[in-house]
Symmetry: C2
Amino acid sequence: MFSYSRRLKHFISKTNSVHLHSPYMSKNPTYTKLFEELRRLDKLSAIDGILGWDHQVNLPKNSVDFRAETAAVFSELRHRESTRPEIGEWIAELTEADNLSPDEKVVVAQAKKDYDLSTKLPVDFVKRRAIAESEGYHTWSDAREKNDYGSYAPYIEKHVALCKEMASYMGRENDAYDFLVDQYDPGMDCETIDSLFTPLREELVPIVQQIVNSDVKADTSFLKGFDVEKQQKFLYEVVKALGLDLGTARIDSSIHPFCGGHTCDTRLTTRFDADNPMDSLFSVIHETGHALYQQGLPAEFTGTALGEAAGMAVHESQSRTWENQIARSKGFWEYWEPKYRDLFKEQLKDISSDKFYLAANKVALTTIRTDADEVTYNLHIMLRYELEKRLFSGELTAKDLPEAWNTLFEASFGFKPKDDREGVLQDVHWSEGMFGYFPSYCLGNLLSAQLWYAMQKDLTSVDADFSRGEFKEVLSWMRNHVHANAQRFKTKELCHIATGENFTHKYLIRYLKERYLPLYS
Amino acid sequence: MFSYSRRLKHFISKTNSVHLHSPYMSKNPTYTKLFEELRRLDKLSAIDGILGWDHQVNLPKNSVDFRAETAAVFSELRHRESTRPEIGEWIAELTEADNLSPDEKVVVAQAKKDYDLSTKLPVDFVKRRAIAESEGYHTWSDAREKNDYGSYAPYIEKHVALCKEMASYMGRENDAYDFLVDQYDPGMDCETIDSLFTPLREELVPIVQQIVNSDVKADTSFLKGFDVEKQQKFLYEVVKALGLDLGTARIDSSIHPFCGGHTCDTRLTTRFDADNPMDSLFSVIHETGHALYQQGLPAEFTGTALGEAAGMAVHESQSRTWENQIARSKGFWEYWEPKYRDLFKEQLKDISSDKFYLAANKVALTTIRTDADEVTYNLHIMLRYELEKRLFSGELTAKDLPEAWNTLFEASFGFKPKDDREGVLQDVHWSEGMFGYFPSYCLGNLLSAQLWYAMQKDLTSVDADFSRGEFKEVLSWMRNHVHANAQRFKTKELCHIATGENFTHKYLIRYLKERYLPLYS
């Protein structure tokens, strides 16, 4: 039946506009117009979210090219809608207005930033970049397969040039890399990042050495043959306990776990491997962290600065807190280990709790970032950040990148990758021109640890709660201190407001010492 | 990873336009512009197809209102895009042009029909209708639950009035019902339908009587406890053999089976019930018929009359041919029955082939259209058609509808529905103002039978092919005679072109006699 009514709609009812939400009323009528328009554009962004999810989760394999064409048409349309001159006029008027509330000023400022970015990039540039993104991606995936960096190097050059060109349209040609970083983490720049990463590296390397040189070795060889349906059952129990609202979210599987969709319709994924159950579990908890943030943003303001995430580092701080500080804690497993053992009696019958817990907190040096544990992960990020800075300063060219990679890698890890596949070719990001993004992962780890200790000051019984399978307090603390603020503050300010202190590397170091040194000595 | 690159796109790359398809070049540059625009709008319609599918298959239960708002915003945007004055100017110019190929003329004519419909309906009317559709639907579903026709009656009146109002905007106030019928089946009208339905009813009723009064009764009591996973396995084997290309299609489950998506990305669904395996099997074959048609339309012309379906009746003729003429044939089951028995040894061990085949071809009088077999189904449709005509002629008002329903029902079926739930309240269509659509179901049955016998003239070994699990010949016959014609011809013309004869009721009668009378005597 449904198909017919759908076909009917296609034949007749081409428009069908019911406005279910009551409009927000401001003292300033132009603000109300802008607000309503941002809310309308947010619906288009939600469609983009569903299409992106569908692409990864459902798309039939031979429908990929058609979807690419469809996505191109839709993003062109979204661009046209979000750059209508009217919007620019409203923003210009509101930037001068004196009757806006502080929140309204935040919305206008962010709208201006987005509008400027969308309008100042020439269409011809945007097309060249889009083509370079898709060509770069395909060249990279061939190059990685064939371990042939040479064929891929020109795209590194091209994307660096395109990023600089983009910065120049925004009047930032002199600090292009800072400009890029700011796109992911508002207000962030190299000076700040260096002030965090330099001491972090100094204090982290010896901790890593101490752990990897310890006689204690995590044994994960018993994590084999874990029935996938039972893994799923367990995972749903866990994410519900963590507070994920499955009334407005769903979990599917995809090659790369991710969290997409929209605050009001969240789509997260994981992947399942009978011989790697910890990967799917911690992946889904990581994505649940992103989803809890998304679901914690004020739904009535999505599409505006009062309803969107503060940036990548803050987003990552949420996924990391749930994945690491919480789900790798003793308290967490005191509650969940018995349930896990019930499901996997056979596999775990000869495994002590200590051995099990150590396996969940395995630390090992690896060449591949995405396989890295939370301790060594930061070394991988800082390496990429260092190389990006040099590429943008001109100190380094694409052709010398592999050697620079291997030298820096050896300096942090004590050995060289066996080939470029395990080195410079491993990540997709640069192939699509994503420079300035890597730092967010490590900034997210720093912030998650800082939030964690700030939380302890307010919540005395966190560990005890976890051991009873209780996470409400933690979630509501995050809701109040992070989620509710949406995009109101830049990363550093948000950190200070939520934790009462300046953004620092100290808490990550403290956390890693307290969590891992007892385990590995 | 993906999530980050998605968030990145959200932060930076708001536009990303790559044109992967090479543009069609016409002698007439304005035609090329129109063609490209129709192809662009087709991508938006494809997005609508994915959203509609997602709504039925994936949408979290509390995300429904948000999706409704999103859909409203998107359909308003699509309406705006498809009614841009430029398009109207191109169409006007091309309607006068003398250098268009016959195919190009077809495209322009259909584009004009769609454009006029979209532009001649006042926005205020479209909003009133949209509200009446959604209120009508909700009132109907409550009314059906409570068997309270009275609360629903006003919406019948309202939708009849809205349909007449719509017709008047198109200058069709004097034949509003014909206008509606034409929306679903181009060129169709009451005069033609009456010339088909009147003799059909006369000849069908005695056949039905003969079957239901026969001592032979189909026993379906053994169709219980059929493992759903095995049902799925079988169903995939079948649809692949029928020719469904799963490289550009997928099958999921939903409450109402349907076929949606797009020619290049087809999404069909069925439902699974361990105690009703024939329902899910024939449902998926029915939807596969729709999908084979969709996949048979020329992909390089979707969005234009050279790449879209000819109408509802033709669409239904495709689903019906595969569901009934083919999948209920002896030849079909000669090949598939042994495979079915392999999967369901226990359930079928005491069931003879004759008993099994009879169960697959059960005929019984029922009050509910959607439960009806292919013989009695047509009586249900003709009843609704008769009532719709009277509602639009003014002969009948909403308040007298239940009584008229029951009287007509008794005349065809020999008994009255026990309440309105089993009568006038059973269908969703009228609650959303879908008048003029019901005839398509029966017209589709007529056409499927006529195509079936035309096919036999060209293909001598159809039954033998089926008994070897071969369907290529049938599919390629349909591709050549029906699918390839897309929207070039009106329903009646297409029928004549494909079968060499005028559209008639005779072949459905012949088919039902040949298929069912031997079984039930």
